[in-house]
Symmetry: C2
Subunit: 405 residues, 2 copies
Amino acid sequence: MPLSQRANLIPQSPIRKLAGFGLEAKKRGVKVYHLNIGQPDLPPPAAVFDFLNNYHGPVIEYSHSQGEHDYLESLVKYYHRLGHQDLDKDNFIATLGGSEAILWAIMTVADPGDEIITFEPFYTNYNSLAIMAGVKLKAVATKIEEGFHLPDKKAILSQINEKTKAIMFCNPNNPTGTVYRRAELDLLYDIAQEKNLYLLSDEVYREFAYGEHRMISILTVEKERQADLAESRVLVLDSFSKRYSLCGARVGLVCSRNKKIIAVMLRYGQARLSAGSINMLMTANIIGQDEDYLEQTLAEYAKRRQVLIDGLNRIEGLVFCEPEGAFYIIVKLPVADADEFCQWLLTDFKDRNETVMLAPAAGFYLSQGSGKDEVRLAYVLKEDDLRRAMEILAKALDKWEERRA
Amino acid sequence: MPLSQRANLIPQSPIRKLAGFGLEAKKRGVKVYHLNIGQPDLPPPAAVFDFLNNYHGPVIEYSHSQGEHDYLESLVKYYHRLGHQDLDKDNFIATLGGSEAILWAIMTVADPGDEIITFEPFYTNYNSLAIMAGVKLKAVATKIEEGFHLPDKKAILSQINEKTKAIMFCNPNNPTGTVYRRAELDLLYDIAQEKNLYLLSDEVYREFAYGEHRMISILTVEKERQADLAESRVLVLDSFSKRYSLCGARVGLVCSRNKKIIAVMLRYGQARLSAGSINMLMTANIIGQDEDYLEQTLAEYAKRRQVLIDGLNRIEGLVFCEPEGAFYIIVKLPVADADEFCQWLLTDFKDRNETVMLAPAAGFYLSQGSGKDEVRLAYVLKEDDLRRAMEILAKALDKWEERRA
């Protein structure tokens, strides 16, 4: 019996496709350092467990479809502290992780057959979620040599046609680590105004910017440039998964100054009744309560980033730019096929019975053949582990080279 | 700026649309008995809180996209106990509540523009979720006088065309309380075979059957009738929200003997990374651990059902059949417009400063004008509260009648 076209189109996650080989390696007793997935090894703020350990119900009810009251209140306070004081409760809706925020944003601005553009390499699930919604994702190329910063206006316009409904981007960027400059955000805003497009800004990694360039929210750009904020074309997609190391809690949100968008999403919310009530309350309990946590987390990732950069600098033949934000980097390897190399790392290679798991980058591109020699690394491991992982990668590349010779 | 067509099409939930009036009434100090929503007032099994109160992380990781291992194992055991011993782990995938199970099932079998048929009145979110997926839901009428049992084959076939991909149904039924007979399930199976359709069976209320007619799973029918089970056309949509009073936990699943379907859903799962890890572990911890809980819950609902039936029997001018399962009933009221009546109950009526909130049934129908004089009641309140709610409803109908006279 035939399945739907989208069932046939939906790609396997490049982040998770090697999971089976990883499990096999572990079964053989090989230690695997996971650089393939943005799963922080950090515990969340301690208040998370305090909350759970004192939770007594007595019932576990559906939340309001917009989100638990306390969660929405905490979002308002958090966004006010970020500098967006004009926002109130009805500028927000709770989602089941950032993923649902992306899916709903796509569904709200685009119909089946419509197009949304993004920049490749991109967060791979943008494409999967677009396919689920029947929407076509198109990608404008960015270059590793330019730190994956945006190309000129002409290059972006060349991908836009009458079916295009929105530009979706991630800032700071997963998978590239790029933090967009004000001029880049202005360019996107210009194009959105000119072509009457929505801007879908994924700001999940907002706090993770390491260099001289601070992350600028599209909300800030809009505030200065949009006369009638109630007619906003901006949707911010957000989640606490990375910020508070709460990946498994599935606590996200959409923020928009356009309350009509939130009203539509409330109906999507009603269609699935409620996000996770305990998880929302647990998250509300920590937002803004533990200012030190974010600072310490950022400091920790900054150290890890340096270990990663130092490690990569010691390996010959790599191409990469120092990542400016998030906790990912795309690296061009001296291999013809990174897919093959990454699989070999798990099936054939080991050094002192240890190996590394990387995400082949081709899955982060739509253009056939792009990223074939690239990998995405997530620096979410402890410094010593990262150091060792870099050492393993260096040895593996040597061995791979020998093997070919 | 125009939003998508689906954003414009997505209906407000009939279960939740009066929520604002309910809040207003409460603000005026009026006590509101909620018969509008299937939110049990029962606590979940105590082991739920034991689990949370002893949960120490230390990290809150993404789960495997198929679901937490322990949760999947517990599903296998639970379905084996239900009599489906041929199922293994790869016949299941975890979802964020039954809602995600419905959405994924629609997306797996149907593309934008395709059609799925169901029976009206139906669980209203079938339509909302179909609209989100770009799929058209079509409804075959069932009759209150026939206890909403299925019509004959001809009536069902009349709604099926070359765009139809599946039949979706809820058994025991929300909102009607109907438990389908074996002959009805066989009829659906016949039609599915004849027209090459998938069968999407929502069995969330499977344990809640009160009368002489036990709930029969479509899995049982399929087992007897399908020669090659690996080519199964059956998807079971399931959730622990009602079974264990875990509405806010968002723990659901899809079960299919067709592993190709689960493989597609695994990719949907990867696209949103993970369901809620703590909630899955918490649920795994109670499935099959507390046999008494389900028995006691069922006994409790059976008593409430009787209170409801007795109360309704005392009111003149109602049309209804005794519900056979789930914890809902559709009742035809002696009012011209149930929407208006339900709103009036919250804005103008009170008896000893109390009132009731009902769900107008029109939102459970697709056919214009159908169900206009009907409401859905959920009997999820304690016996005394239900008794009082029935008394209030009787008085309100008298008053409404006087008001018209």
